[in-house]
Symmetry: C2
Subunit: 236 residues, 2 copies
DNA sequence: CCGTACACGTGACCC
DNA sequence: TGGGTCACGTGTACG
């Protein structure tokens, strides 16, 4: 433990720190409000300050690659900190008052471990945000807890990749089918109107005859005849 | 703190617990080996027991939905534990020796907080495994740290979904193109071989004549003729 | 009471 | 030295 200076509440050890009469109905924020000395921002904590548990309804538009809220998104970061007024029986027995070994340079907190703690909080918060974003992607398939989110994401990615590849293959197939299943070759295409009242078979026969009379030598033909439009394509 | 019994090393407070002479070249396992009393499994810890940092090369085949290694995958779980020989200056001042309030039932650890710790370890390990699995999915796009993995997964899912949907649309387009751009209707289909040496135009004319002689009344016709195979489909 | 799940502060480790 | 990341043990909340 080494140093208990900037703890916030240290609710353990049954030290009934936060008020006892009105307490048990409000389980949020065991640490009191306690305006931060020296950190002017971050008023009005939303309840249940842990950023993660709130993500179940968080919206995102797939983070624009860097605008994640510049630095402290307000929820959890630099939440404040309060000494538990003694912490009764601190981990170091018999520490005297008012001196506490005076670290080499500066006097009080914000030194060494304090910044470390803050950085870690920030990191945690960032990670929670990422979780929230990911959860927004898999909310249908995930139970909501961290582990489930991560697992669901892996499964989902796997499925999506499979579906994409299959679709891609199917796509190639279709394209090949349209193109006639040997590779692309030069081909000719005509398209014209026919008398809709007459038989489609007769129309096609007429068209083919016309082609033949034009001395067309076709080795492959594709045609589509519907609604009075005849489209025909051949290769020689 | 409340109870410091089963700590492993408690390296803080500059109590130089693990050997000092041969130490600094091997940064793994500050906690010693210490055979577990009562847990027969899990010998031979791989170095750097934290399961997460090793995942950068972990393979997976997309977890078969429940076979994640039944319970303790061996790396980290029930690593053992060792009392810090006193932990010098326990958090409860003046607790007498040899009695310590005797909790209701059992005597020593494995009570209350000990199981809690173990469960937490197990949970952490499971989560690390999930991370590893997810990382295997995004290893190409992720830097490797937790946050990056999660973010990359979200981005990847987003991209994959987009690609899949686009492919699906394109697919419908192609299908519609093949089917002829009015909706699917009941239609008839024939397919037969023709003499490859003769003209494709003649073959088609012959086929159409045959249809006509069968008294087929077609309002729309699609056909594909190539490599000696004539496929034809019509609706009445 | 037990299990699950989370956030926290912290020591260790690596650039 | 110092920021970044991790795993850890712990306190807390919920079912």
């Amino acid at each position: 433990m080494q140093m208990g200076s900037y703890y916030y509440a240290s609710f353990h050890d049954e030290a009934p720190f936060y008020l006892h009469g009105a307490a048990p109905a409000s389980p949020e924020l065991p640490f009191g409000l306690i305006a931060s000395p020296g950190e002017p921002s971050s008023v009005s904590q939303p309840p249940r300050a842990g950023a993660f548990q709130d993500y179940r309804g968080a919206g995102l538009e797939l983070l624009p690659a860097g605008a994640r809220a510049p630095h402290g998104s307000g929820t959890n970061v630099d939440r404040r900190v309060v000494d538990a007024l003694g912490r009764m029986g601190g981990d170091r027995e018999q520490r005297d008052e008012e001196e506490e070994r005076r670290q080499p340079a500066d006097t009080v907190e914000s030194s060494r471990g304090f910044r470390h703690m803050m950085r870690e909080r920030q990191r945690r918060e960032k990670l929670s945000q990422s979780y929230a974003d990911l959860y927004a992607m898999v909310s249908a398939r995930s139970k909501g807890d961290k582990n489930s989110v991560v697992q669901s994401a892996a499964i989902y990615i796997h499925e999506l990749k499979g579906a994409r590849d299959q679709l891609q293959r199917r796509n190639e197939e279709l394209k090949a089918k349209i193109l006639g299943h040997d590779a692309r070759q030069q081909c000719v295409e005509i398209q014209f109107e026919v008398d809709e009242t007459s038989s489609a078979i007769d129309s096609m026969i007429g068209a083919l005859r016309r082609l033949k009379s034009m001395d067309v030598r076709a080795r492959g033909i594709r045609s589509n005849m519907s609604d009075g439009r005849l489209w025909m394509q051949w290769r020689t």
